[in-house]
């Protein structure tokens, strides 16, 4: 084959099975605790949850293994998972009036909050990817530490700085961890779900929804409404 058709085939990225990558990593790094996080969306981009202690070794293996060769971290981003009460319906067998019946019950579990970083990896050399790595912090307050993967993929440096700036995840081992978008001395983390932005809605020409509620506080007394 020649020309455009061949180019199209050559440019197509080969998606590897996450299960095989997981077993390869487990063989190479015995202590690694890996877990596949399923994505139920049609894209079905499942991701690999890596424990923090072996994250750097896993990243090095993914980059240096000749068959995997993930040499390019295309995207690094953060996710905030605040504390949430999850409810799921489960069927429980219960004895009601002497007869055993199957009853639906709502089971509520409290999920502790944590912060997450997501790495999208590609191999430019072997034209394969993406593999998605997830790292989770212990909580959202004092233990928001993760190992930095900048020593493995240099391109992650600014993106990890941005996550540090906007989510407050501290990357241990990052060469230059400073705020990148907001100024030094800024105390908040704007991309967290519980962030409250400064109240400077003195004037809104067409306020609506929560902006309207906020703008209302600045209205003179006779114009509240």
């Amino acid at each position: 084959m020649e020309g455009a058709q061949a180019d199209a085939i050559r440019l197509k990225f080969n998606v590897l099975s996450l299960e095989s990558i997981k077993s390869q990593i487990e063989q190479a790094i015995p202590g690694a605790k890996l877990e596949i996080v399923k994505n139920d969306a049609p894209s079905a981009q499942h991701s690999l949850l890596v424990d923090n202690a072996s994250a750097l070794a896993v990243a090095k293996f993914l980059r240096d293994d000749p068959a995997l060769c993930f040499d390019y971290a295309s995207n690094v981003t953060g996710v905030d998972w605040p504390e949430a009460e999850l409810s799921e319906k489960i069927k429980v067998k219960k004895v009601v009036d002497g007869v055993e019946k199957e009853v639906e019950e709502v089971k509520k579990t409290l999920r502790p909050g944590y912060l997450e970083t997501v790495y999208h990896l590609y191999s430019m050399e072997l034209k394969q990817g993406p593999v998605i790595l997830r790292l989770r912090t212990e909580n959202r307050t004092d233990k928001a530490h993760l190992p930095s993967l900048t020593p493995v993929w240099r391109g992650a440096e600014f993106q990890e700085r941005e996550i540090f700036d906007l989510y407050g995840i501290v990357f241990d081992g990052h060469p230059d961890l400073r705020r990148i978008l907001m100024w030094e001395g800024f105390k908040d983390f704007p991309m967290r779900k519980d962030y409250v932005e400064p109240d400077d809605y003195e004037y809104e020409p067409t306020p609506h929804d929560e902006v309207h509620d906020k703008a209302k506080q600045h209205y003179p007394a006779e114009a509240k409404g």
């Binding site: 978008l181 100024w183 001395g185 400064p198 003195e202």
Partner: protein, 202 residues
């Protein structure tokens, strides 16, 4: 000077003027903008200065790279809160008389980023703005219109009297306080001497 006398003299071939007219005529036709842009509006500003729209027709083609040599600041683009102190500082470094055109939705009000945490909701919160241009981004024609509006404004300024412009009034400030980076927001969030929230009546 009496207008009737002036036109009578003109008919006889005697042209008269006043120092004020001459001074303003000179000033309005050599407004040198400061060459800086903050976002995509700057591209339209650059286009306006190039041959197709040709800002040189208004004597404003000399974009100065230093605030010390500029008369006009075109705030072309989104003013983030991180950038706002630098914009005010640049304005303070310009010599009087100085003018400001706030170009585009972001510079006049925050635009599409108005409800964000990181964008200043209009540069007129810190420095006095002479002409506001709406648009996202405004076309070069809109910038030319702002220029002509500014020229009209300069032309009508009186050199004496209570309404004389700021640069001829020693009591009025030529520098404005530079906001500081606070823990949550800029401090102060606006300069009350320059900006007051419009009164809403509903």
């Amino acid at each position: 000077m009496d207008e009737g006398l002036r036109s009578e003299l003109q008919k006889q071939g005697v042209f008269t003027t006043t120092l004020e007219d001459l001074y303003n005529w000179g000033r309005k036709n050599s407004v040198w903008p400061l060459g800086f842009g903050l976002a995509c509006c700057a591209i339209e500003m650059i286009a306006a200065s190039m041959s197709r729209w040709d800002l040189a027709r208004f004597g404003a083609e000399v974009f100065r790279p230093s605030p010390r040599q500029a008369d006009l600041m075109i705030v072309a683009g989104t003013v983030t809160k991180k950038m706002a102190p630098q914009v005010v500082r640049l304005y303070n470094q310009m010599p009087e008389p100085k003018y400001v055109i706030a170009m585009g939705a972001c510079a006049i009000s925050g635009g599409p980023f108005k409800q964000g945490y990181n964008v200043l909701k209009g540069i007129d919160r810190y420095i006095p703005v002479d002409v506001h241009i709406p648009g996202c981004p405004p076309r070069p024609e809109a910038l030319l219109h702002a220029f002509m509006t500014l020229q009209e404004k300069i032309d009508q300024q009186q050199l004496t009297g209570a309404n004389r412009p700021r640069h001829l009034n020693a009591d009025k400030p030529s520098e404005f306080p530079v906001p500081e980076f606070g823990e949550h927001d800029l401090q102060p969030p606006n300069n009350p001497a320059v900006w007051k929230a419009p009164k809403l009546t509903r």
